[in-house]
Amino acid sequence: MKKEIELTINGSPYRLSVEPDRTLLEVLREDLGLTGTKEGCASGECGACTVLLDGEPIRSCLILAVDVRGREVVTIEGVAENRTPHKIQKAFIDCGAIQCGFCTPGMILVGKALLEKHPKPGERQIREAISGNLCRCTGYAKIVEAIKAASRS
Protein backbone atom coordinates (compact mmCIF):
# COMPACT_ATOMS: atom_id res chain seq x y z
CA MET A 1 0.00 0.00 0.00
CA LYS A 2 1.62 3.23 -1.16
CA LYS A 3 2.12 6.00 1.33
CA GLU A 4 2.05 9.70 0.62
CA ILE A 5 5.02 11.53 2.03
CA GLU A 6 6.21 15.12 1.96
CA LEU A 7 9.83 15.99 2.41
CA THR A 8 12.48 18.46 1.33
CA ILE A 9 15.23 17.36 -1.01
CA ASN A 10 18.04 19.76 -1.83
CA GLY A 11 15.99 22.67 -0.63
CA SER A 12 12.88 21.87 -2.69
CA PRO A 13 9.64 20.41 -1.37
CA TYR A 14 8.55 17.06 -2.75
CA ARG A 15 5.35 15.07 -2.42
CA LEU A 16 5.85 11.43 -3.22
CA SER A 17 3.79 8.27 -3.23
CA VAL A 18 5.94 5.29 -2.29
CA GLU A 19 5.67 1.69 -1.20
CA PRO A 20 6.79 1.39 2.43
CA ASP A 21 9.52 -1.12 1.68
CA ARG A 22 11.40 1.14 -0.71
CA THR A 23 14.58 2.70 0.56
CA LEU A 24 15.43 6.37 0.22
CA LEU A 25 18.23 5.34 -2.13
CA GLU A 26 15.81 3.59 -4.48
CA VAL A 27 13.43 6.51 -4.49
CA LEU A 28 16.20 9.07 -5.09
CA ARG A 29 17.70 7.16 -7.98
CA GLU A 30 14.73 5.47 -9.58
CA ASP A 31 11.85 7.86 -8.97
CA LEU A 32 13.62 11.19 -8.92
CA GLY A 33 16.54 10.56 -11.24
CA LEU A 34 19.01 11.79 -8.62
CA THR A 35 21.63 9.26 -9.51
CA GLY A 36 24.55 11.02 -7.86
CA THR A 37 23.92 8.85 -4.80
CA LYS A 38 25.25 5.36 -5.50
CA GLU A 39 24.48 1.82 -4.44
CA GLY A 40 27.63 -0.05 -3.47
CA CYS A 41 26.99 -2.82 -1.01
CA ALA A 42 23.28 -2.63 -0.10
CA SER A 43 24.19 -3.28 3.51
CA GLY A 44 25.36 0.04 4.88
CA GLU A 45 29.07 -0.72 4.89
CA CYS A 46 30.57 1.09 1.91
CA GLY A 47 29.13 4.59 2.25
CA ALA A 48 28.48 5.17 -1.45
CA CYS A 49 24.82 5.79 -0.60
CA THR A 50 25.52 8.44 2.04
CA VAL A 51 23.22 11.46 2.05
CA LEU A 52 22.56 14.11 4.66
CA LEU A 53 19.39 13.88 6.71
CA ASP A 54 18.75 17.10 8.64
CA GLY A 55 22.46 17.79 8.20
CA GLU A 56 23.68 14.38 9.45
CA PRO A 57 25.26 11.74 7.24
CA ILE A 58 23.16 8.57 7.01
CA ARG A 59 22.94 5.51 4.78
CA SER A 60 20.18 5.98 2.27
CA CYS A 61 20.29 2.26 1.44
CA LEU A 62 19.23 1.44 4.98
CA ILE A 63 16.50 3.99 5.51
CA LEU A 64 13.00 3.56 4.20
CA ALA A 65 11.73 6.50 2.18
CA VAL A 66 8.57 6.64 4.28
CA ASP A 67 10.75 7.11 7.33
CA VAL A 68 12.10 10.47 6.15
CA ARG A 69 8.78 12.22 5.75
CA GLY A 70 8.91 15.79 6.97
CA ARG A 71 12.71 15.79 6.99
CA GLU A 72 15.38 17.53 4.96
CA VAL A 73 17.54 15.47 2.64
CA VAL A 74 20.63 16.76 0.90
CA THR A 75 22.22 14.74 -1.90
CA ILE A 76 25.33 15.51 -3.91
CA GLU A 77 23.14 17.26 -6.43
CA GLY A 78 22.28 19.80 -3.75
CA VAL A 79 25.81 20.70 -2.70
CA ALA A 80 26.67 23.29 -5.32
CA GLU A 81 24.95 26.62 -4.90
CA ASN A 82 23.47 28.20 -8.00
CA ARG A 83 25.73 26.08 -10.19
CA THR A 84 28.80 27.32 -8.36
CA PRO A 85 30.83 24.48 -6.90
CA HIS A 86 30.87 24.35 -3.14
CA LYS A 87 34.31 25.01 -1.65
CA ILE A 88 34.59 21.28 -0.87
CA GLN A 89 33.87 20.31 -4.46
CA LYS A 90 36.46 22.83 -5.62
CA ALA A 91 38.98 21.48 -3.14
CA PHE A 92 38.38 17.90 -4.33
CA ILE A 93 39.09 18.99 -7.88
CA ASP A 94 42.12 21.12 -6.98
CA CYS A 95 43.67 18.43 -4.77
CA GLY A 96 43.08 15.61 -7.23
CA ALA A 97 40.93 13.75 -4.73
CA ILE A 98 38.73 12.11 -7.36
CA GLN A 99 39.67 9.04 -9.39
CA CYS A 100 36.77 6.86 -10.40
CA GLY A 101 34.33 9.15 -8.63
CA PHE A 102 32.15 6.44 -7.12
CA CYS A 103 32.86 7.31 -3.49
CA THR A 104 33.04 11.03 -4.17
CA PRO A 105 29.42 12.04 -3.57
CA GLY A 106 29.44 10.35 -0.17
CA MET A 107 32.83 11.78 0.74
CA ILE A 108 31.82 15.31 -0.20
CA LEU A 109 28.60 15.13 1.78
CA VAL A 110 30.39 13.80 4.84
CA GLY A 111 33.00 16.54 4.44
CA LYS A 112 30.30 19.17 4.12
CA ALA A 113 28.52 17.95 7.25
CA LEU A 114 31.81 17.91 9.14
CA LEU A 115 32.78 21.46 8.18
CA GLU A 116 29.38 22.75 9.14
CA LYS A 117 29.83 21.31 12.60
CA HIS A 118 33.57 21.76 12.99
CA PRO A 119 34.82 24.49 10.66
CA LYS A 120 38.51 23.80 11.47
CA PRO A 121 38.81 20.05 11.88
CA GLY A 122 42.10 18.35 12.63
CA GLU A 123 43.30 15.47 10.49
CA ARG A 124 42.13 12.89 12.97
CA GLN A 125 38.66 14.35 13.01
CA ILE A 126 38.52 14.31 9.24
CA ARG A 127 39.66 10.71 9.07
CA GLU A 128 37.11 9.71 11.67
CA ALA A 129 34.34 11.51 9.83
CA ILE A 130 35.12 9.73 6.55
CA SER A 131 35.79 6.40 8.26
CA GLY A 132 32.43 5.13 7.06
CA ASN A 133 33.14 5.80 3.40
CA LEU A 134 35.25 3.35 1.46
CA CYS A 135 37.47 4.44 -1.40
CA ARG A 136 39.21 1.83 -3.53
CA CYS A 137 41.15 4.26 -5.69
CA THR A 138 42.79 7.12 -3.86
CA GLY A 139 44.11 5.69 -0.61
CA TYR A 140 42.23 8.50 1.18
CA ALA A 141 45.21 10.88 1.45
CA LYS A 142 43.99 13.33 -1.20
CA ILE A 143 40.48 13.22 0.17
CA VAL A 144 41.68 14.19 3.64
CA GLU A 145 43.84 16.89 2.07
CA ALA A 146 40.85 18.23 0.12
CA ILE A 147 38.64 18.49 3.16
CA LYS A 148 41.48 20.18 5.06
CA ALA A 149 42.01 22.60 2.19
CA ALA A 150 38.28 23.38 2.06
CA SER A 151 38.33 24.19 5.76
CA ARG A 152 41.01 26.78 5.13
CA SER A 153 39.34 28.50 2.21
Binding site: A42, G44, C61, I63, E128, G132
Partner: protein
Protein backbone atom coordinates in the same frame (compact mmCIF):
# COMPACT_ATOMS: atom_id res chain seq x y z
CA UNK B 1 7.16 -7.78 -3.17
CA UNK B 2 3.78 -8.42 -1.58
CA UNK B 3 1.88 -5.59 0.00
CA UNK B 4 3.53 -4.35 3.13
CA UNK B 5 1.83 -2.03 5.56
CA UNK B 6 3.63 0.72 7.44
CA UNK B 7 2.10 1.93 10.68
CA UNK B 8 3.14 4.69 13.04
CA UNK B 9 1.77 4.21 16.56
CA UNK B 10 1.95 7.19 18.86
CA UNK B 11 2.20 5.23 22.10
CA UNK B 12 3.79 2.03 23.33
CA UNK B 13 0.34 0.65 24.09
CA UNK B 14 -0.75 1.27 20.51
CA UNK B 15 2.41 -0.39 19.20
CA UNK B 16 1.94 -3.48 21.38
CA UNK B 17 -1.69 -3.74 20.32
CA UNK B 18 -0.63 -3.67 16.68
CA UNK B 19 1.94 -6.37 17.31
CA UNK B 20 -0.57 -8.49 19.20
CA UNK B 21 -2.99 -8.37 16.27
CA UNK B 22 -0.51 -9.14 13.51
CA UNK B 23 1.01 -12.53 12.86
CA UNK B 24 3.84 -11.23 10.81
CA UNK B 25 4.80 -7.74 11.90
CA UNK B 26 8.27 -6.38 12.51
CA UNK B 27 9.19 -3.34 14.58
CA UNK B 28 11.31 -0.69 12.96
CA UNK B 29 13.70 1.42 14.98
CA UNK B 30 16.85 2.68 13.25
CA UNK B 31 16.51 0.18 10.44
CA UNK B 32 20.23 -0.59 10.35
CA UNK B 33 19.57 -4.31 10.82
CA UNK B 34 15.98 -4.67 9.69
CA UNK B 35 16.28 -2.97 6.31
CA UNK B 36 19.25 -5.18 5.40
CA UNK B 37 17.14 -8.29 6.03
CA UNK B 38 14.20 -6.79 4.19
CA UNK B 39 16.12 -5.68 1.12
CA UNK B 40 18.00 -8.96 0.89
CA UNK B 41 14.67 -10.78 0.88
CA UNK B 42 15.43 -12.78 3.99
CA UNK B 43 12.29 -11.76 5.86
CA UNK B 44 8.78 -11.10 4.58
CA UNK B 45 6.79 -9.13 7.15
CA UNK B 46 3.36 -7.89 6.19
CA UNK B 47 3.55 -4.96 8.57
CA UNK B 48 6.27 -2.59 9.73
CA UNK B 49 5.61 -0.90 13.05
CA UNK B 50 7.65 2.29 13.26
CA UNK B 51 8.69 2.93 16.84
CA UNK B 52 10.30 6.31 16.15
CA UNK B 53 6.93 8.06 16.21
CA UNK B 54 6.43 7.14 19.86
CA UNK B 55 7.50 10.10 21.97
CA UNK B 56 9.71 9.59 24.98
CA UNK B 57 11.54 6.41 24.02
CA UNK B 58 14.83 8.19 23.41
CA UNK B 59 15.42 9.80 26.76
CA UNK B 60 18.38 9.32 29.06
CA UNK B 61 17.29 9.92 32.64
CA UNK B 62 18.95 9.35 35.97
CA UNK B 63 16.45 8.22 38.55
CA UNK B 64 16.53 9.48 42.14
CA UNK B 65 17.75 6.07 43.37
CA UNK B 66 20.85 6.39 41.23
CA UNK B 67 19.68 4.12 38.41
CA UNK B 68 20.23 5.37 34.87
CA UNK B 69 17.38 4.80 32.43
CA UNK B 70 18.19 4.77 28.74
CA UNK B 71 15.36 4.76 26.23
CA UNK B 72 15.54 1.91 23.72
CA UNK B 73 15.24 4.31 20.80
CA UNK B 74 18.37 6.25 21.76
CA UNK B 75 20.68 6.21 18.79
CA UNK B 76 24.26 5.09 19.16
CA UNK B 77 25.13 8.73 18.47
CA UNK B 78 23.03 9.86 21.45
CA UNK B 79 24.78 7.37 23.73
CA UNK B 80 28.17 8.47 22.41
CA UNK B 81 27.47 12.13 23.12
CA UNK B 82 25.69 11.80 26.45
CA UNK B 83 27.61 13.45 29.31
CA UNK B 84 25.69 11.54 31.99
CA UNK B 85 26.54 8.20 30.38
CA UNK B 86 30.16 9.26 30.07
CA UNK B 87 30.17 10.12 33.75
CA UNK B 88 28.32 7.12 35.16
CA UNK B 89 28.96 4.19 32.84
CA UNK B 90 31.62 5.23 30.40
CA UNK B 91 31.95 1.66 29.12
CA UNK B 92 28.76 2.34 27.16
CA UNK B 93 30.35 5.36 25.51
CA UNK B 94 33.22 3.11 24.48
CA UNK B 95 30.86 0.46 23.15
CA UNK B 96 28.82 3.04 21.22
CA UNK B 97 31.92 4.55 19.62
CA UNK B 98 33.07 1.13 18.49
CA UNK B 99 29.97 0.45 16.43
CA UNK B 100 30.35 0.56 12.65
CA UNK B 101 30.85 4.09 11.38
CA UNK B 102 29.48 7.59 12.03
CA UNK B 103 26.59 7.42 9.54
CA UNK B 104 25.42 4.09 10.99
CA UNK B 105 25.68 5.52 14.48
CA UNK B 106 23.41 8.34 13.35
CA UNK B 107 20.72 5.77 12.57
CA UNK B 108 21.08 2.65 14.72
CA UNK B 109 19.51 2.43 18.16
CA UNK B 110 20.63 0.69 21.33
CA UNK B 111 17.29 -1.13 21.48
CA UNK B 112 17.72 -2.41 17.95
CA UNK B 113 21.28 -3.47 18.64
CA UNK B 114 20.12 -5.50 21.65
CA UNK B 115 16.97 -6.99 20.14
CA UNK B 116 18.55 -8.06 16.84
CA UNK B 117 20.54 -10.35 19.13
CA UNK B 118 23.55 -10.75 16.93
CA UNK B 119 25.94 -12.80 19.08
CA UNK B 120 28.72 -10.26 18.51
CA UNK B 121 26.65 -7.10 19.04
CA UNK B 122 28.58 -4.42 20.89
CA UNK B 123 26.20 -3.17 23.56
CA UNK B 124 25.31 -6.50 25.22
CA UNK B 125 28.76 -7.35 26.68
CA UNK B 126 29.06 -3.82 28.09
CA UNK B 127 25.52 -3.96 29.47
CA UNK B 128 26.15 -7.39 30.97
CA UNK B 129 29.25 -6.02 32.67
CA UNK B 130 27.10 -3.20 34.08
CA UNK B 131 24.45 -5.61 35.34
CA UNK B 132 21.77 -3.88 33.29
CA UNK B 133 18.13 -4.84 33.26
CA UNK B 134 15.69 -4.39 30.41
CA UNK B 135 12.19 -3.03 30.69
CA UNK B 136 9.88 -4.83 28.33
CA UNK B 137 6.30 -3.82 27.65
CA UNK B 138 3.64 -6.01 26.10
CA UNK B 139 -0.01 -5.59 25.30
CA UNK B 140 -1.03 -6.99 28.67
CA UNK B 141 1.82 -6.24 31.05
CA UNK B 142 5.36 -5.01 31.57
CA UNK B 143 8.28 -6.93 32.97
CA UNK B 144 11.95 -6.49 33.60
CA UNK B 145 14.57 -9.00 32.49
CA UNK B 146 18.27 -9.01 33.39
CA UNK B 147 20.22 -8.47 30.18
CA UNK B 148 22.04 -11.78 30.57
CA UNK B 149 18.69 -13.61 30.37
CA UNK B 150 17.39 -11.76 27.33
CA UNK B 151 19.10 -13.77 24.60
CA UNK B 152 17.95 -17.27 23.71
CA UNK B 153 19.83 -18.26 20.56
CA UNK B 154 21.52 -16.86 17.46
CA UNK B 155 19.52 -13.75 16.56
CA UNK B 156 16.79 -14.72 19.02
CA UNK B 157 15.57 -13.08 22.18
CA UNK B 158 12.89 -13.73 24.77
CA UNK B 159 10.46 -11.07 23.58
CA UNK B 160 6.94 -12.31 23.03
CA UNK B 161 5.40 -11.32 19.68
CA UNK B 162 3.51 -8.41 21.25
CA UNK B 163 6.39 -7.08 23.36
CA UNK B 164 8.72 -4.16 22.87
CA UNK B 165 11.94 -3.30 24.65
CA UNK B 166 11.36 0.20 25.96
CA UNK B 167 14.14 0.94 28.41
CA UNK B 168 17.59 -0.14 29.49
CA UNK B 169 18.29 0.35 33.18
CA UNK B 170 21.79 0.67 34.57
CA UNK B 171 22.02 0.13 38.33
CA UNK B 172 24.18 2.50 40.37
CA UNK B 173 27.83 1.47 40.57
CA UNK B 174 30.20 1.92 43.51
CA UNK B 175 31.67 5.43 43.63
CA UNK B 176 35.04 4.30 42.33
CA UNK B 177 34.29 2.43 39.15
CA UNK B 178 35.84 1.89 35.79
CA UNK B 179 34.88 -0.02 32.67
CA UNK B 180 36.54 -1.22 29.51
CA UNK B 181 35.00 -2.49 26.29
CA UNK B 182 37.44 -4.19 23.95
CA UNK B 183 36.55 -5.31 20.48
CA UNK B 184 38.39 -7.68 18.18
CA UNK B 185 37.68 -6.99 14.56
CA UNK B 186 39.44 -7.03 11.24
CA UNK B 187 39.09 -3.36 10.41
CA UNK B 188 37.98 -0.42 12.46
CA UNK B 189 34.42 -0.44 11.29
CA UNK B 190 33.72 -4.09 10.75
CA UNK B 191 31.46 -6.23 12.87
CA UNK B 192 33.06 -7.62 16.01
CA UNK B 193 34.69 -11.02 15.92
CA UNK B 194 34.67 -10.79 19.71
CA UNK B 195 33.63 -8.10 22.18
CA UNK B 196 34.48 -8.12 25.87
CA UNK B 197 33.12 -5.70 28.47
CA UNK B 198 34.45 -5.47 32.03
CA UNK B 199 33.35 -3.22 34.87
CA UNK B 200 35.05 -3.02 38.25
CA UNK B 201 33.89 -1.02 41.25
CA UNK B 202 36.05 -0.43 44.32
CA UNK B 203 35.20 0.56 47.87
CA UNK B 204 37.13 3.14 49.91
CA UNK B 205 39.74 0.63 51.03
CA UNK B 206 40.48 -0.38 47.45
CA UNK B 207 38.80 -3.74 47.66
CA UNK B 208 36.51 -4.89 44.93
CA UNK B 209 32.87 -4.05 45.58
CA UNK B 210 31.56 -4.98 42.13
CA UNK B 211 32.82 -6.90 39.14
CA UNK B 212 31.03 -7.64 35.89
CA UNK B 213 32.23 -9.35 32.72
CA UNK B 214 30.38 -9.91 29.45
CA UNK B 215 31.56 -11.60 26.25
CA UNK B 216 30.06 -11.31 22.78
CA UNK B 217 30.81 -13.33 19.66
CA UNK B 218 31.90 -16.44 21.51
CA UNK B 219 28.66 -18.40 21.68
CA UNK B 220 25.16 -18.41 20.24
CA UNK B 221 24.34 -15.48 22.54
CA UNK B 222 26.27 -12.83 24.47
CA UNK B 223 27.60 -14.44 27.63
CA UNK B 224 27.61 -13.31 31.23
CA UNK B 225 30.80 -14.49 32.90
CA UNK B 226 29.41 -14.80 36.41
CA UNK B 227 32.80 -16.00 37.65
CA UNK B 228 33.76 -12.31 37.81
CA UNK B 229 31.90 -12.27 41.14
CA UNK B 230 34.82 -14.10 42.71
CA UNK B 231 36.71 -10.80 42.63
CA UNK B 232 34.30 -9.17 45.06
CA UNK B 233 35.46 -8.37 48.60
CA UNK B 234 39.06 -9.02 47.71
CA UNK B 235 41.99 -6.94 46.61
CA UNK B 236 42.22 -7.71 42.89
CA UNK B 237 45.48 -9.32 41.86
CA UNK B 238 46.59 -10.17 38.37
CA UNK B 239 46.41 -13.83 39.23
CA UNK B 240 42.75 -13.46 40.20
CA UNK B 241 42.11 -11.66 36.94
CA UNK B 242 43.78 -14.55 35.14
CA UNK B 243 41.48 -17.00 36.93
CA UNK B 244 38.40 -15.07 35.80
CA UNK B 245 39.76 -14.81 32.25
CA UNK B 246 40.31 -18.58 32.13
CA UNK B 247 36.79 -19.13 33.41
CA UNK B 248 35.52 -16.95 30.56
CA UNK B 249 37.35 -19.12 28.05
CA UNK B 250 35.76 -22.25 29.50
CA UNK B 251 32.28 -20.80 29.11
CA UNK B 252 32.68 -20.06 25.42
CA UNK B 253 31.42 -22.16 22.53
CA UNK B 254 32.54 -20.14 19.55
CA UNK B 255 32.02 -21.06 15.93
CA UNK B 256 34.69 -21.16 13.26
CA UNK B 257 34.15 -19.04 10.18
CA UNK B 258 36.07 -17.03 7.61
CA UNK B 259 36.95 -14.37 10.15
CA UNK B 260 38.39 -16.55 12.88
CA UNK B 261 38.61 -20.16 13.99
CA UNK B 262 37.12 -21.56 17.15
CA UNK B 263 40.59 -21.99 18.62
CA UNK B 264 41.63 -18.43 17.94
CA UNK B 265 38.39 -17.05 19.33
CA UNK B 266 38.82 -19.02 22.53
CA UNK B 267 42.36 -17.81 22.91
CA UNK B 268 41.37 -14.21 22.31
CA UNK B 269 38.51 -14.35 24.81
CA UNK B 270 41.14 -15.02 27.47
CA UNK B 271 43.38 -12.23 26.23
CA UNK B 272 40.60 -9.65 25.95
CA UNK B 273 39.02 -10.62 29.27
CA UNK B 274 42.33 -10.19 31.02
CA UNK B 275 42.97 -6.84 29.31
CA UNK B 276 39.48 -5.49 29.88
CA UNK B 277 39.49 -6.42 33.56
CA UNK B 278 42.93 -4.90 34.02
CA UNK B 279 41.93 -1.67 32.30
CA UNK B 280 38.67 -1.45 34.18
CA UNK B 281 40.60 -1.85 37.41
CA UNK B 282 43.11 0.83 36.39
CA UNK B 283 40.28 3.22 35.63
CA UNK B 284 38.58 2.50 38.93
CA UNK B 285 41.85 3.05 40.80
CA UNK B 286 42.35 6.32 38.98
CA UNK B 287 38.99 7.58 40.20
CA UNK B 288 39.95 6.79 43.80
CA UNK B 289 43.08 8.91 43.38
CA UNK B 290 41.11 11.74 41.81
CA UNK B 291 38.68 11.99 44.69
Amino acid sequence: MENIEYVEPKTVREACALLAKSENAKVLAGGASLVVLLKNKLIFPDQLVNLKTIAGLDRIDPSPEGELRIGALCRHRDIENSPVIQERCEILTQAALSIASPPIRNMGTIGGNICHAEPSADFPPALIALGATLKITGSKQSRTVPIAEFFSDYYENVLEPDEILTEIRIPPLPSFSGGSYLKLNKTTNSVAILGVGAVIGLDESGNCAYAGLGVGGAASTPLAITDAAMLVEKPITSSLIETVASAAVKRCEPISNVHATETYRKEMVGVLARRALTRALEKAERTTKES
